[in-house]
Amino acid sequence: MPDKKIKKVVVLGSGPIKIAEAAEFDYSGSQALKALREEGIESILINPNVATVQTSYDMADKVYLLPVSTPFIKKVIEKERPDGIMIGFGGQTALNAGIDLYRSGILNRYGIRVLGTSIEGVERALSREKFKETMEKCGIETPPSGAAKNREEALYYADLIGYPLMVRVSYNLGGRGSAVVWSKAELERELGIAFSSSKTEEILLERYLSGWKEIEYEVVMDRFGNSAVTACIENMDPMGVHTGESTVVTPAQTLDNYEYQKMRSTAIEVAKAIGLVGECNVQFALDPKSYRYYVIETNPRMSRSSALASKATGYPLAYVSAKLALGYRLYDIKNRVSGATTACFEPSLDYITVKIPRWDLAKFDNAKESIGTEMKSIGEVMGIGRNIEEALQKAVRMLDIGEPGIVGGKIYNSRMSRDDIIAALKGRKPYWFLYAAKAFKEGMSVDEVYNATLVDRFFLEKIRGIVERYENRWNEGIDVLKKLGFSDEQLHAKHSATPSIKQIDTLAGEYKAATSYLYTTYNGSDDDIEIGNSGNKLLIVGAGVFRIGVSVEFDWSSFNLHNAAKKYFDEVALINYNPETVSTDWDQVGKLYFEELTAETIEKIYRKERFSSIATFAAGQIGNNLSKTLEFAGLNLFGTSGGSVDVAEDRNKFSRLVEKLGLKQPAWVAATSMKEIKRFISENGFPVLVRPSYVIGGSSMRIIRNFKSLMQFIENYKLSKYPLVISKIISGTEAELDCASDGSNVLGVGAQHIEEAGVHSGDATVVTPFFGGKSAYEKMKAAAVSIASELSIKGVFNIQFIISRNEPYIIELNLRASRSMPFSSKSVGTNLIEYGVKGIFEKYGWNGFYEPKHNAYMVKTPQFAWGSLRGAYPYLGPEMRSTGESASMDMSMGAALIKSWLGASPNRIPEKAVLVYGKTNQEYLNYIPRILSKYNRIVTLEGAEVKGAEPLDKNSIIELLGRKEIDLLITDNDIRDIDYEIRRAAADLSIPMVLNGRLGKELAMRFHGAKLSYNELSSYY
């Protein structure tokens, strides 16, 4: 039974979404908070990620939007005096913070218990050296390896073990700094990055088990040693590809009873050896030609794979783990799916799940397009089916990369030569299965593809089978093809039959499920739920896979829409397939379809279940793209009509509206011919902003400064088919209004960027409330009201402006939830989504524009992934590149800014030298040495110098960076011709970078002496 002395618990979050730490920690943190609430324990959450679901009061009793690092956590502890702390629900960030707190003696001083696995246990798992020792003591085999603390030791062990070698890093995130090296020269190149990626500057040199299979088990264990192994995950990719980068199938498919159970028992021994209380994963390398295996590593915390395993099996690992941390026995916890059995069991699956990561590498200039030991993917999807083909093809469509399945898409129909295909497979380009299918189409054998990929033949045969059926599709019955997961689009045919609706119940049908966690399949002959009960039923489209530009904020939107709509509908269901998220938590969502977000699937479910409306406005880009198709197919759109959406999206219609309302906008053209483009340029000149229509997150958006670049941009663009939108760039600052409307009256929250216009709003540092001129703001608010009335907007919308000479120009209108809505909602404690839904059904109680009162500033800082994307050039532009955001509130803008900036990694206040240089925004850059020279040595780059700093050439700077003598870089714009190596060195060595001069100045002014407050979120309202 739980410890009654625990009354107040701090839960650490994972901070901003970054590569290898995404919404899975929103999900696991939310589950932990739920478990605490059930026990009547007061929960205090520390997480600066304002876009998450967990930072709302539905989940936690108190929320601190503060960086997850010792100085800030200490302040909260001093104030709240909690009894316990949970460090296993916020990824590596929370775990590392917990270890720091423990080592600094703070936990001891305040008598705070670490709930769950002890710090000693965590260290035994995460220190490569201690882990190896612990395993040896227990007689558990790990690959031949040596732990090194410096270059000499590393080279010594490398000689001893022999090449190829796997370089692993202690206490790191997403395999950061790890690599496979084939020679001494390669090893020497990698050592710098490896050591600087480790929190303890400790690395492990390990024999590289090329071609071995990677298998992962999830273990739960209570404090009495009772355990269950709740999932076994099989990576299709072999060892050497990070599990987060692998295509993964659950349950494991190619293991026989003997090896499955041997490794399972070993996984439990590993858990015992580290003293697990809660959950851990244990990774194995398995020889594909014998029963030999090694333990590779363990993570004694909630992880990306534990979130995946929870969704794949229906076993809520985070929830159970939190209960175990509170002292429960495993079998005293209920299985929440069956409602009848206990949590002490191992799920049996009567379906197959396939997880595929999603990469966005093309967004990053120069980024290396090959996957391996370090995580680079930005999101993931999970397809569920009754066979591998169905699950796999669904998953490919879920990626939303324009591929209609394993076959029949761009790559399949490309003119790649055999050599190109083999090169793509060997070079581990993302989405290997598409190239494997192409290889089979070109007549290559399974052996040839195996030799290039080292993917188990069992899976390759499945892909080969799909190709065979597809090439023979005219002779196959359509039923056979649908069973293999082919979409109507792939077959260019409309298939009338609807799929069966099946339930995920953790027990393969043995007990009746009490929850509605559903998927569809063409391999079924009946439904698990009663179909066709009528009533007022809403289906909400979720945000799908995360990519740059669509992240946890849209999960917040769809989840909040689900909660807000419950009041108005008999039944609310949500459809989404992102295994990381809260919105795919069957325990939080009344009815969940874990399914594709394609028009075909949505329409079939909608009609089969007789939904009365469908909501697409909370789902980011996917929802946006679907709304027209769905409305055209006759589905009833919830909220603002597709016609109004069309006015907002169609530049011509929108332009007429702006003119009609007497508002201003920058000159623009949607050109379909070179003639139009030339005319526009001659009238307006350069620079211009160009982009294809219908995009989010600014993908393919560029600032063009001359004809040559313009021609380059257009080269591969089918102009006549898709108009190219070119607009004049107005200099100024950007501002936004996030709004909800009842058709005439508006609830709105204003915000303004620190960086100048031209930096994508998702990459900008954003401040609310609006702090510019009053007259401009009055015009913005008036614009919002007139647009809302003119288009009869019912629901949420967002308007973006450029303020130039105190005059607002409208640059964009979005009739949907915006990326910043959780930020603006939480800055004033008013949920815009809730008001959006309210506005659909009833009138607000005010006339015109209403903005809740701001009693404090909230600032959000983007989180970038430069360190994880080797080779990518770090800079800010009109195309979004950040992965997440950190936010904080305070009484002054500067204090809120500093706190939010420190919440993003690897940011820290500089103590050593600061490097400042740049060719633009120099008036701001020049100001920085004046402020900081009191505290820091200031160096600058020759050729892009700032005043009052010590000029150095590029090589000296890189050397200083290498010696970690520079701990902050401030620069501006894109000057890759002169500083590519400098920015890359800083990224590789995890040195903080500020990539905009205006932001640099704002920060420099507050690094020292800003008066920070450490208050609970609601105290700022």
């Binding site: 009772n226 190619t254 026989d256 003997y258 009567d350 009754r386 049908g509």
Partner: protein, 364 residues
């Protein structure tokens, strides 16, 4: 892959059409389901499945092929008996294996052993049917439809399947000085392997071997094994159990053996609606409060109200209160309803065999 049609007829007049594999013939039995996701070579050869049509809930079966039969000290490694024991196999999808130790594929194996199989069935639908209605008699026909399927249906509860899976004559395995007699009602080789590992010589005797013949081996212990069918009809076995117990010789009853022990000492055994057939189930040791994930394969059960005289509940299922093991104080009898040898299943409860060894050592 062959593509002939196959038909599955159920007692409640459900007819399912699928694709046939394995042998082209008719198989009849009680349709039951297992939720074990792998371990099909072990399951299919488990004699406890005699007289049953096995439905596998995991949709893909055959993924790693079928290994070669390898004997170690006369005991099989990856199979629970010399041949397939189920009357037929019902699955969603038949697959090919490409594993290093695969000797043949599942289809070929079933064909070579004369066992019919059907795939392309919504096994979840079937599982739910069995769950909601209880076990159902079924007839599987590969090749041609049959007119009067009912004539193939036998009354499972009255039939003595054990006679078909128990040896006619004793089989002996030479090993250490001490010998354990295994009363073979369809013993799994996994049980033999565990006992052999402890150093015992083994004598597998026919299920209806009388007590005096069992005792003539001067056994250090006696194991009453698992096996198919209704325990209540096994009067001979119940009798031998009672008589052997008189001599205070350590007895370990596994699965059916646990039910025999219950009946021998006045307890009651009930037919379950659809049984426990899984490798994912917890049992709780009532003495230590420790839980173990174990393998189950039983259609009959003992409940706390029906435990035999002089016994105490040793293991209990936290899900449905089935008595999963008994200890008879002062009588040197221990039983488990679950399978400590697993195969297929976890190694969590393997220690139970050394517990038996301890009982043997203390009895001397």
């Amino acid at each position: 892959m062959r593509k002939e049609k196959a038909y599955l007829y159920l007692e409640d007049d459900t007819i399912l059409e699928g694709i046939g594999f394995g042998a082209q013939k008719i198989g009849a039995g009680e349709a039951i389901f297992t939720t074990s996701m792998n371990g099909y070579p072990e399951s299919l050869t488990d004699p406890s499945y005699k007289g049953q049509l096995l439905v596998v809930t995991h949709p893909l079966v055959g993924n790693y092929g079928v290994p070669e039969k390898v004997y170690k000290n006369g005991i099989l490694a990856d199979f629970e008996s010399e041949s397939i024991k189920v009357e037929g196999l019902v699955i969603s999808e038949l697959t090919e294996g490409y594993k290093w130790n695969s000797f043949m594929n599942l289809d070929t194996w079933l064909e070579s052993e004369g066992i019919p199989g059907i795939y392309g069935i919504d096994t979840r639908m079937l599982t739910k049917k069995i769950r909601d209605n209880g076990v159902l008699g079924g007839v599987l026909s590969v090749g041609a439809p049959i007119k009067n399927y009912k004539k193939y249906l036998a009354d499972y509860e009255k039939k003595n399947f054990i006679a078909q899976v128990s040896p006619r004559k004793p089989i002996e395995y030479k090993n250490g000085r001490q010998l354990v007699v295994v009363v073979d009602m369809g013993v799994k080789h996994g049980i033999l392997a565990e006992l052999y590992k402890l150093g015992y010589s083994l004598a597998r005797v026919p299920y209806n071997y009388p007590a005096d013949k069992i005792l003539s081996y001067e056994p250090a212990g006696v194991v009453y094994s698992n096996g198919p069918g209704n325990p209540a009809i096994l009067k001979d076995v119940i009798k031998s159990f009672t008589e052997v117990a008189e001599y205070k010789i350590p007895i370990f009853g596994i699965c059916l053996g646990h039910q025999i022990a219950t009946l021998a000492f006045g307890g009651s055994v009930e037919k379950m609606k659809f049984g426990h057939r899984a490798i994912n189930k917890a049992v709780i040791d009532m003495n230590t409060r420790r839980s173990y994930i174990t393998t189950h394969n039983h259609g009959y059960a003992v409940y706390p109200s029906g435990i035999p005289h002089g016994s105490k509940v040793w293991f209990l299922s936290p899900d449905d209160n089935v008595v999963e093991g008994l200890i008879f104080k002062g009588r040197n009898i221990m039983t488990t309803q679950f399978h400590p040898e697993a195969r297929p299943g976890t190694n969590d409860a393997g220690f139970i065999f050394s517990y038996f060894q301890k009982m043997i050592n203390n009895a001397r």
